[in-house]
Symmetry: C2
Subunit: 198 residues, 2 copies
DNA sequence: CTGTTGCATACATGCAGCCTGTATGTTATT
DNA sequence: AATAACATACAGGCTGCATGTATGCAACAG
């Protein structure tokens, strides 16, 4: 099974194996869902044996967690890259939302992060991932906007969760083939509704 | 295996068996999740054999679909019962939301309808269930409110989906042990924000 | 009206194939 | 030599199907 790759350090061996496992698992989890993907197929696709898989990950779920963790991190990076410090808080929120929807349009992301993720890791598990990567920026944006009196003073954590869920739902619908425009409009409407009426 | 239940019609036999299977499956799916519940255990708990299960349902997923269908129907009934035709559209929406949160507080409902449901049946599958039972009333409420100019004119289907997702997220958070009050406040804030500012 | 006959429905049982996780063996680093 | 990084083999369990059996039902004969 092992190729003629010459002499490599243990660290290099490990890293490459982990990498190949995560990449292969991601492909299959995206194509067929977590439940319908077996570890034999993952190992085959990665060019390794199941022994290697279970050497690096406690179980199939831990491998899935690694895939989700990386995906969430990538999404956060893409958002941060496409983000511009905008004038008003609401515009910043809307633009951040656009960036999120664009990032979530990458194939398989909605299934990994919004369907299988919560079911396999539990909502609490996904919340931890989200707080490390995802809606940390959303929460900070909302906090700043509230302090600047640009949106109404509502419970921060709850509002972050609700808006995040709305964005998630939009990403899911668009990924399922729905027209994106009505969702952008409705999201903008929800956010603009948070502006205080003096 | 068959008890001394006297002579029963075929219809009675079928109905009772299906009933017992659905009830047993619900208990186990709620306790341990869909993935970690096996058909042997379901059949045992229902006092039937796996043969009966596969006679009535095409596969494990079809049994799960039956459980979800019934649960969604029950939730819709409970909401309809606790609903009062209120004065303004926003108040009706907020009260409907309260009823929804109360109904979703029944043990296991969030797992069945909001975690395992979308993962096992797909978001499109759950959308069909929701449209038959769940947010049909939400959509009608929003439609009426828009036509009466009590809330802004936003794309109906998209807005229904986004608000529904926000309510779902609140139900999940509360079920996970979060304080309900901030979520109620934030939800009310979102809805009140939809009132047009002349 | 009753008893029998033939068929359909509602299950029960057994089997084949696959999958997960672990335990144990082997090879490459350090 | 010791340890990390794998490979291989195995045990237990689960799903779905195929086949066997009993019960209900409908029609017809007598």
């Amino acid at each position: 099974m092992q190729q003629e790759t010459g002499r490599r350090s243990n660290r290099e061996r490990s890293d490459e194996t982990r990498e190949r496992l995560i990449e292969a698992a991601r492909r299959l989890f995206v194509d067929k869902s977590y439940a319908e993907t077996g570890t034999p197929e993952i190992a085959r696709e990665a060019g390794v044996t199941r022994g290697a898989l279970y050497h690096h990950f406690a179980d199939k779920q831990a491998l899935f967690a690694a895939v989700v963790e990386r995906e969430a991190s990538t999404v956060a990076d893409e958002i941060e890259r496409h983000t511009t410090t905008s004038s008003t808080a609401t515009i910043a929120l809307i633009e951040g939302g656009e960036a999120y929807l664009k990032a979530m349009a990458a194939p398989g992301r909605t299934r990994l992060l919004l369907l299988d993720g919560p079911a396999v890791l539990g909502r609490s598990g996904m919340d931890e991932v989200d707080n490390r990567h995802g809606n940390r920026t959303l929460k900070q944006g909302l906090e700043a906007a509230i302090k600047a009196r640009q949106i109404r003073d509502l419970p921060l954590d709850a509002l972050t969760g609700l808006l995040g869920a709305a964005f998630d739902r939009a990403a899911l619908a668009i990924d399922a083939g729905a027209d994106a425009e009505p969702y952008r409009t409705a999201l903008a409407g929800l956010i603009e509704g948070l502006v205080p009426t003096p």
